[in-house]
């Protein structure tokens, strides 16, 4: 079996990725497609900034502008940030807990393909009669009135990709609950695993309200239901609640894994155990928990009444406490450490002041009466880009540099990495810092143009200039990726030299069966412990070398998702009334989906075994252990 890893033709490689159920390959799929959507979302951001660079600009028309901000927000959150984080979770978390794979490899693949086809579906709206244009929050009254099929693309696309995300969440939870290596107690799990766990739990409980809301939207627009149709007794505030009951936890789904990545980085590059590990874990759980009780802070101006506003204001403020605990514990981790300023580390270091600046403006918005001024102004835009770009995107960039060798077996250039950093970091502050003041100066968000008489020109121009710097940074990163892939200098297990957790105890990239023998975990930072003990074999193992049972690859997840993709087009055009072919498309899609599900449930898939002999063969090839 080990010969699978040998050279293959291009077609075979593609086929391999389409059928893979290996968490490491699925991670690469997530990374590539998430990265692609990040470029698309970034391109949309650049269009936004071009349009707003001067007063009264007519580069984009009003309608197009609304489509672009909607797709920018939706793409960035659902199709770029979350999938890239899922990529790291997939690539690293099973290794960190010493698991053979995730709990449900087949579902892992299904989750990816659902997300992928959902994202493609959503983006095809550009070419098939107009993108959604009611903002990423898709508030009901505007969404119901929106003409064309944009909103239908939004609802169906997010439903499909949402199912994919939900599946991924359940999968990670089960993996962490059931598949930890011997000795890996909950309180020995690396923080990235912990944040994966909590973020997955948030996915589990936050996505259902969104799905329900999206269904209502579909029913209202396509089948004449009237959940949000005011003249029929409906109520648009229901959408706002359902969206934000999902939406607020969603932002923590983004930031918690980012916190996890930074926790790893601080420990590795300070050569020091995380300060206050226990506090960090409990802070993570608390943030996740509070995350469900604050959603109405997005709705302070809806008019819910002073009692609701006051309660939600106070609840929101409390989140500053566990977040603060994290910040200070990180500071104390690097305090007294031996800090090496590698590319991942400078991102992590830069993250602290950036995120704190974004976090404290969040607390300002939590002051309900003050939010009456701030809400829907550029102050909000500044806040969330500070936490998202200054937190999540910096974590994504840091994680890309940190885990690149683990995922691809070669290092990204440190020099180019630092260039990327400086362009991106300076551009980021230039773009968004000044937006706080634009907001305070009365500039509402989601405006496609502004008059020269309002005094906002200069600051908008500065903001646009900053965005250009960010784009240059991203382009340098792309260059970096291409160049290092061409050079392809192979690296060993622990390329940063100071790895502490299990993923650094295995080859880069790891063999497809992960650890040949399940390691025995002797404490927090288990690999570090072995290194300090001078263990030459890398790890102590919990079982003798023996046959390994592996799942078979399968094309079925791809086909199921493809079927839903096709069916969605049918559903979308079906009710136009003048497109008789739509019904056929709908049926064909559903037949493909359910047919392949049926095949899956009727055909037993028992996997295969890698024999001990093959493992030994591999080990000789240098595929496991040893520096």
């Amino acid at each position: 079996m080990s010969s699978i890893a040998q050279k293959k033709g291009f077609g075979a490689t593609i086929w391999d990725f389409m059928t893979t159920v290996d968490h490491k390959k699925i991670a690469i799929l997530y990374l590539i497609s998430g990265g692609f959507f990040f470029l698309v979302g970034g391109l949309e951001a650049m269009l936004i900034r071009v349009q707003l660079a001067t007063a009264g600009n007519d580069f984009l028309s009003a309608g197009t502008y609304n489509e672009i901000i909607t797709m920018h927000g939706t793409t960035m959150i659902f199709l770029a940030a979350m999938p890239i984080l899922l990529a790291f979770m997939n690539a690293i978390m099973p290794l960190q807990i010493g698991a053979r794979d995730v709990a449900f490899p087949f579902l892992n693949s299904l989750g990816f393909w659902l997300f992928f086809f959902g994202g493609i579906f959503l983006n095809l709206s550009w070419f098939m009669g107009g993108a959604p244009d009611a903002g990423w929050t898709n508030y009901a009254s505007l969404a119901l009135a929106s003409e064309g099929h944009g909103i239908d693309f939004y609802s169906l696309g997010l439903t499909i990709s949402g199912f994919g995300t939900l599946i991924a969440g359940i999968n990670f939870l089960v993996t962490i609950i059931n598949m930890r290596a011997p000795g890996m107690t909950y309180m020995r799990m690396p923080l990235f695993t912990w944040t994966t766990f909590v973020a997955s739990a948030l996915i589990l409980l936050a996505f259902p309200p969104l799905t329900v809301g999206l269904f209502f939207m579909v029913f209202d627009r396509m089948f004449g239901a009237s959940f949000f149709a005011v003249e029929m007794g409906g109520n648009t505030i229901i959408w706002e609640h359902l969206f934000w009951i999902f939406g607020h936890p969603e932002v923590y789904i983004l930031i918690l894994p980012a916190f996890g990545i930074f926790s790893e980085i601080f420990a590795i590059f300070s050569r020091k155990r995380l300060f206050g590990y226990t506090a960090l874990v409990f802070a993570t759980i608390l943030i996740g928990f509070y995350g469900f009780m604050v959603w109405a802070h997005h709705m302070f101006t809806v008019g819910l009444g002073p009692t609701a506003n006051a309660v939600f204001a106070l609840a929101t403020m409390i989140i500053a406490v566990p977040t603060g605990i994290k910040i200070f514990n990180w500071l104390l981790t690097i305090w007294g450490g031996n800090i090496s300023f590698t590319t991942p580390m400078i991102y992590a270091v830069a993250f602290i002041p950036s995120f704190v600046a974004g976090g404290v403006t969040g607390v300002m918005q939590a002051i309900a009466p003050l939010d009456y001024q701030l809400h829907d102004s550029y102050f909000i835009v500044a806040h969330f880009h500070y936490v998202i770009v200054g937190g999540v995107v910096l974590a994504i960039l840091a994680g890309t540099h940190l885990y690149w060798p683990k995922m691809f077996g070669t290092m990204l250039s440190e020099k180019l990495g630092k260039w990327t950093f400086w362009f991106f970091f300076i551009g980021f502050h230039l773009t968004f810092f000044i937006q706080h003041f634009l907001g305070l100066m009365g500039m509402p968000r989601r405006v496609y143009t502004f008059g020269a008489d309002q005094g906002w020109d200069l600051f908008n121009a500065i903001s646009s200039a900053g965005a250009v710097l960010m784009a240059i940074g991203v382009i340098i990163l792309l260059v970096n990726v291409v160049m290092t892939s061409i050079k392809n200098e192979r690296v060993g297990n622990d390329p940063w030299g100071d790895g502490r957790t299990l993923e650094w105890a295995i080859a880069s990239p790891p063999p497809f069966y992960n650890f040949a023998q399940t390691p025995l975990v002797r404490g927090l930072d288990t690999f570090w412990i072995e290194k300090m003990d001078g263990n030459k074999k890398g790890m102590i193992y919990a079982e003798p070398l023996g046959d390994i049972h592996m799942p078979n690859g399968s094309i079925i997840p791809f086909v199921i998702s493809l079927g839903m993709f096709i069916a969605s087009f049918g559903a979308l055009y079906f009710l136009d009334g003048d497109k008789p072919w739509a019904l056929a498309v709908l049926i064909i899609g559903l037949v493909i989906t359910f047919g392949s599900m049926l095949v899956r449930s009727l055909k037993d898939d028992l996997g295969f075994h890698i024999t001990k002999a093959e493992l030994l063969e591999d080990a000789k090839g240098g595929n496991t252990d040893g520096h």
């Binding site: 009254s141 514990n329 690097i334």
Partner: protein, 360 residues
């Protein structure tokens, strides 16, 4: 809420600082230059919270800078392995307790102000002669314009809100179509204009708008409501009570017919093509498809945002979609038997509309 002269001084200082920072913020629209009680309260909260946040940022920055300066590898040596500290209960307690205290400082004024700004209990209080003691304005948000009804006075206007200074003005907000949000940044925070329920709040206008460079405060729609959301502006004229009462009286009178010949021609055309949607009398009812134009000649802007001159007016009438994509005013072709208006017709319409005034 904030008591004591000393604090006020500090605020004054901070205010100047922030205004300086804001540089080119305009007093017609900046939340940093409050011109009424509500905005002032909110501004005070802004200053208070900014001070707290600055403190947080400074503390974090000091620890942060010290840490990355002191413990760099170039100083510590390549091979140095630091002590693997587990943590410290005392420190954990410290950085749990201090933020809680800071949050409590914010929480008290937050709760107070939330209830204070939502307090509309005096709205229906009546004076001895049975009139209500406060002005109430019913605001209706429509795609993409604003209608202002003064129910007590029995008058309706649009696009330009006229209010008396130095007293509470109550607002009832509702949308006729899609959700909007009513926001006058320098007077006070926004409140959403929902299609299903009436929202109520109050504002106070402490400054006469004639003192401003532009003569009006700027109002905005703050909730995405379609393509022309960005252009759904309105203007606010605040005048002293006396002047306000005069204005109301003038509004209640029947409009005087146009006098000069061109304008009369315009009036004829208007009554033929436009009157179905646009009322020209201030006592007209609400619910018009288009804005009430009784005060059009007194306005500061056309369609909420264009300079108020004949040129723009003619352009607007000739092609409303060009200026506000997606708005509900039809093309001239559909009003004028499939023909665009001639230059002459436009001139006469403009002359007529510019003459519609209640302020002589």
């Amino acid at each position: 809420m904030m008591k004591g002269i000393k604090k006020w001084r500090l605020f004054a200082l901070m205010t100047t600082l922030l205004v300086f920072l804001a540089g080119c913020g305009r007093e017609e629209i900046s939340t940093l230059i409050p011109a009424g009680k509500v905005a002032q309260d909110q501004f005070n909260l802004l200053i208070l919270s900014s001070v707290v946040m600055l403190f947080v940022i400074i503390v974090v920055s000091i620890i942060f800078v010290l840490a990355i300066v002191k413990f760099r590898r170039s100083k510590m040596g390549e091979d140095m392995i630091p002590e693997q500290v587990e943590g410290s209960a005392r420190l954990e307690f410290l950085w749990t307790a201090v933020p809680i205290v800071l949050l409590l400082i914010l929480a008290v004024p937050t709760v107070y102000s939330t209830f204070d700004l939502a307090d509309v209990s005096t709205m229906d209080v009546q004076t001895e002669d049975g009139n209500s003691s406060h002005l109430t304005v019913n605001v209706t948000g429509k795609l993409y314009w604003w209608e202002f009804e003064y129910p007590e006075q029995g008058i309706v206007t649009a696009q330009e809100l006229v209010v008396p200074t130095d007293e509470r003005v109550y607002f009832n907000l509702i949308s006729a179509d899609i959700k909007h949000s009513f926001w006058i940044p320098s007077i006070g925070g926004k409140l959403d204009v929902n299609p299903e329920n009436v929202n109520t709040f109050y504002l106070e206008f402490d400054q006469e708008s004639s003192e401003l460079e532009d003569g009006v405060f700027y109002g905005k729609c703050a909730e995405l409501c379609g393509p022309s959301h960005a252009l759904m502006d309105f203007k606010v004229k605040s005048v002293d009570r006396e002047e306000f009462d005069q204005w109301v009286t003038a509004m209640q009178e029947e409009p005087t017919p146009a006098e000069d010949a061109v304008a009369q021609e315009g009036q004829e055309l208007f009554e033929q093509s436009c009157i179905a949607c646009h009322a020209t009398s201030g006592v007209g009812g609400t619910g018009g498809v288009g804005p009430n134009l009784a005060t059009f000649g007194d306005r500061n802007r056309i369609a909420g945002y264009l300079e108020h001159d004949e040129e723009n007016l003619k352009n607007w009438i000739a092609d409303p979609q060009e200026y506000k994509p997606g708005n509900l005013m039809p093309d001239p072709e559909s009003l004028n038997d499939g023909e665009p208006f001639t230059e002459q017709q436009l001139d006469s319409l403009a002359a007529y509309l510019m003459g519609l005034t209640v302020e002589e």
